[in-house]
Amino acid sequence: MTSRPASGKGLSVVAIDDERPALDELTFLLERDPRIGAVQGCNSATEALRVLQENEVDAVFLDIQMPGLTGLDLAQVLSRFRTPPAIVFVTAHDEHAVAAFELQAVDYVIKPVREERLAEAVRRVVEVGGAPPSADVQIPVERGGVTRFVNRSDITHVEAQGDYARLHTTDSGSHLVRTPLSTLAEQWADAGFVRIHRSVLVALPHVSEVRSDSGRVSVVVGGKELPVSRRHTRELRSVLTRKQP
């Protein structure tokens, strides 16, 4: 199984479901994932096949039970492509799981789809594709009706604010995004973001110091000292020691 990073702009994926609401939802969730650059929705396997023949696609997210060509049929056809895209089945039908993995599917996600579970599937797609789709990711942030983009590599740490998260950047700016911290923690784990507190995520590349004062640990990131909770100390320590060259 190979999968190609289509460009520097994240994964190019195709979502396939014959039920309109299900396709809308899947497309919406995939578009929200910062690792994904382009999503194309198709309401049949036949339509998807056309798209796949004309475009470079890294992964397909597909339903199984569809009239005409089923998801399993399509996966079989795709496996004969010279550079087949990664396959993730998204279905309410758990009885097809064995057949799906025989077709070397990367993942099998059950409907209704949870965003965190889909993020894990994307992680697996990235993993089988080798290198992450791009070194940096642009995060859309909105303020006063204007959408701006922040480079993820410029983010020093993230703080939870209810269901929102506040991104702090190297230029001491801060931006609110409508994504819960838990989702970011999962999606950005590969980019070196680590939880140090229930409500704080730090970018390891920006950590300049780790301080320890009578058992109380803190990190300095972007010139700011942030406490590390007891619960997250061990995890941080193990991540840091792994990072040492």
């Binding site: 039920e19 609401p21 299900a22 939802e25 039970q65 009239p67 309410a92 409907k111 209704p112």
Partner: protein, 215 residues
């Protein structure tokens, strides 16, 4: 008979449940009012189907539940599912075995959708008719799907477990048990000709009373 009803109740398709909930989850974002409406239809549909008592119900109750079911299916499949209901009001109070029409409608929806891709309008058509016929009430559930070999249908009605249609044999057995062997299911079908299932029930039958109570 209770065992058969229980078997049928347990048969409510998990796929239907999870796909309906998936569609509702999607509408929560795109059309919250519709999501709310569908969620309530879903609640009422499952409440009726999980009902614990009453071997009989009125045709009105059974059809109301079917309408809810169809609303949920149409939310999922949109224009690919075209439904016509034609109900004579005078037969609505007739007592029928609980869940005796619902499985037939589920089969018809499945047949219709499977065939929808080959239709000029891309839709499967489903027709439900209830008529007053003298001392009987006649209910027809018809689809324009692929149809089936009549021999296979005969085996399904005979309760052949190898056949995929447990619902058909179950409904047939319960109708005969309630009203006698003259009242078994009639299935008109052939490959390429769609399927029509005809249910005939007496408007008044000794010993048949609706006792389930309105949900």
């Amino acid at each position: 008979m209770e065992a058969e009803v229980r078997a049928l109740r347990a048969q409510i398709s998990p796929h239907f449940i999870y796909n309906s909930l998936g569609a509702i989850a999607s509408f929560v974002r795109t059309d919250p009012d519709r999501a709310r409406e569908l969620l309530l239809e879903f609640a009422d549909f499952t409440r009726y189907s999980f009902r614990r008592h009453g071997e009989y119900t009125t045709l009105a109750e059974e059809l109301r539940s079917i309408e809810r079911y169809l609303k949920l299916e149409q939310a999922r499949f949109g224009d690919r599912l075209q439904v016509t209901l034609q109900i004579a009001p005078e037969v609505l109070p007739v007592a029928v075995p609980f869940l005796c029409i619902q499985p037939l409608v589920e089969n018809a929806v499945q047949h219709g959708l499977e065939g929808s891709a080959d239709k000029p309008d891309g839709a499967g058509h489903l027709r439900i008719v209830a008529r007053d016929r003298g001392s009987d009430c006649v209910i027809e559930v018809e689809d324009d799907g692929a149809g089936e070999d009549p021999e296979r249908v005969r085996r399904a009605l005979a309760g052949d477990a190898a056949m995929d249609s447990v619902g058909l044999g179950n409904v047939d057995a319960r109708l005969r048990n309630a009203f006698g062997d003259d009242y078994g299911l009639v299935v008109e079908t052939a490959p390429g000709a769609g399927t029509k299932v005809i249910v005939r029930v007496p408007k008044f039958a000794p010993g048949v009373r609706v006792s389930g109570g309105a949900p």
